[in-house]
Amino acid sequence: MTTAADLSVRDLSWAPARGGTPLLHPTSFDVKAGRVMGVVGPNGAGKTTLLRLLYRFHKPRTGSVSVGGDDIWHLSARDVARRVAAVLQEHPSDFALTVAEIVALGRTPHRRGFGGAAGARDRDIIHAALARLELHHLGDRHLGTLSGGERQRVMVARALAQEPRVLILDEPTNHLDIRHQLEVLELIRTLPLTIVTSLHDLNLAAGVCDDVLLLEAGTCIGFGPPRDVLTEAALSGVFGVEARREHLAPSNTDHLTFHLANKGHHR
């Protein structure tokens, strides 16, 4: 597996059309190689927009995204695909591809030649990715026959087969039961890559991320370690709820709780 790379974002903004309402206002941040950054915020705050700019799906209106010092729009799509991989929420249509074939797609940007024939090295990498996600026994199964958690693991294995230096995940814990959520987060913590992930669950984000970026209506409200950014005041304002940081005694961890602002005052 290749090494992690620094991710550097400068004055990045985006709007759907020229003169349209910006969905992301100029934002800057740095993620050092190997760190995990979470993107949090309410629905429609611009989390997906920011991620799409990072994996070169949207072209920035202003600013730049650099991976390991190279602006991704100065590189070809193929070169970027060798540095940045993404695990998205797209549901593959059932075209009878097997798990091993989906994972093999990760080798696409590395292949040359007629039809993208696989070499021995490609096969080793595919096997390693399947093994890492404990998918070997499912290699011949069709994606459509798998559970949500297994599918998510297939998509992560596919991204790892890409040998990226930066991995971007869009709500990787969505629709997963608690065990699979914890497994995905555990994986995120252990991968030696620079990781950017959007997360709905603020407690999960606080637990897994080195840094979080809090978005509200396309504007960055805060960036830094979770304790500094996910404050009671900031979360209460952004989400329109009453947020409290409580301390759980047996596990000795902080935990955020949320209540609707008007209903929480009965005590």
């Binding site: 799409r52 994996y55 070169r56 799906f57 070809s76 799509a77 193929r78 070169d79 970027v80 695909a81 060798r82 940045v84 991989a85 993404a86 998205l88 797209e90 549901h91 593959p92 249509s93 059932d94 075209f95 009878a96 591809l97 097997t98 091993a100 074939e101 989906i102 797609l105 990760g106 696409t108 940007p109 292949r111 007629f114 039809g115 993208g116 096969r123 096997h127 390693a128 399947l130 093994a131 070997h136 026994h137 290699g139 011949d140 069709h142 459509g144 998509m155 890409q162």
Partner: protein, 351 residues
């Protein structure tokens, strides 16, 4: 452990692919043999291959058949059967490719109106403009018509925000109706003496196949088919989703557009030589996926093979059901394909 689990699986699949290819080729040759021997005048199989071998290398086999038989086999039935194979292979390739880039299991050159556009262009050339570009007039105008219809379908689907599978097909069917109405106006305005031929051709027929014209569909099939097969990894990626394909380094919008243009080229040329033959592009890829799986490196060649076999048998049926009358082959594929389409809808409901 890891290699031990993975390797036999891969070997088994590779062995299966080779076996499938061999079986397919044998069935194809057998079907070709039947297609040439069956008809208003029955010709024994050994005569069929005798004629063939003697054409390859004169005097190889002792000629035990009449000149009339020779003419039937070589001048009429061989080109017809070869055209059937090319049209079947071409339409199946187009269907498989369009299904990948639209992620739509119902994508098909006929349902998306591409065939109708090709027919419009071909009718324009046959009845109105005359062959101002020589023999290539009909295929070129058919290609232009197919491309035009494709552009309209894509514009309508964008206008109607038809990103979902079913709505794209609805847009295609709607455009198909409009284009066919326009094509019928061309027939209505055309020379009445020629309309019978044109209508008959439009229903799908391979009866006009001639040796000296086969080079055009063959060239298009080989060039476009090779290009599509060379892009099978990208087609695989497209089935997962636009954004994921884009993160794999594929220029999604441009790639889809090129596949549509290539699809229009194949469809237009096939329509020009055989009329509208529906449902081959829809059904064949689905049947093929059940046999060889979903990897486009296998789906594309297998679709071409199965499409060729299917159309040979459709042509055999068309020639024998009402013998000695030559039923339009579009009726056979429409009947078989329509029933298959209903089956596909049921399967999708279960999924």
């Amino acid at each position: 452990m890891t290699a031990d689990v993975g390797t036999p699986v891969r070997m088994r699949r590779r062995g299966g692919t080779v076996a499938f290819a061999l079986c397919g080729l044998i069935v194809l040759l057998a079907s070709l043999s039947v297609a040439i021997s069956v008809g208003a005048v029955g010709v024994p199989t050994n005569t069929v291959w005798g004629v063939f071998l003697n054409r390859l290398s004169p005097g190889l086999v002792e000629q035990t058949w009449s000149q009339g038989r020779e003419a039937i086999v070589w001048d009429i039935r061989f080109p017809r059967a070869l055209l059937a194979m090319m049209v079947g292979a071409g339409l199946a390739l187009v269907g498989a490719s369009l299904q990948a880039v639209t992620r739509n299991p119902l994508a098909d050159p006929h349902l998306l109106g591409i065939s109708s556009g090709g027919a419009f262009g071909a009718i324009l050339a046959l009845l109105h403009t005359g062959l101002f570009l020589g023999l290539l007039t009909v295929p070129l105008l058919a290609f232009a018509g197919a491309l035009g219809a494709t552009a309209i379908v894509l514009a309508v689907s964008r206008f109607a925000d038809a990103t979902s599978a079913d709505r794209l097909v609805l847009a295609g069917v709607a455009v198909s109706f409009i284009v066919m109405a326009a094509a019928n106006v061309l027939i209505f305005l055309g020379d009445p003496r020629a309309t019978h031929t044109v209508v008959f051709w439009m229903l799908g027929g391979l009866g006009l196949a001639q040796w000296d014209q086969l080079i055009y569909p063959l060239a298009i099939l080989c060039l476009c088919g090779a290009w599509l097969v060379s892009r099978s990894a990208a087609l695989n990626a497209m089935t997962v989703g636009d954004e994921t394909a884009s993160t794999l380094g594929i220029p999604v919008a441009r790639f889809r557009l090129i596949v549509f243009v290539v699809g229009a080229l194949i469809t237009g040329v096939m329509v020009a030589f055989s009329g509208i033959i529906g449902f081959v592009g829809l059904m064949v890829p689905h049947v093929v996926r059940m046999m060889v799986g979903g990897d486009y490196r296998r789906v594309l060649p297998a679709s071409a093979l199965v499409g060729a076999i299917l159309l040979l048998w459709a042509d055999i049926a068309a020639r024998t059901v009402m013998a000695p009358e030559d039923m339009p082959i579009g009726i056979v594929t429409g009947l078989v394909g329509g029933v298959g389409f209903i089956w596909l809808l049921g399967r999708r409901r279960q999924a």
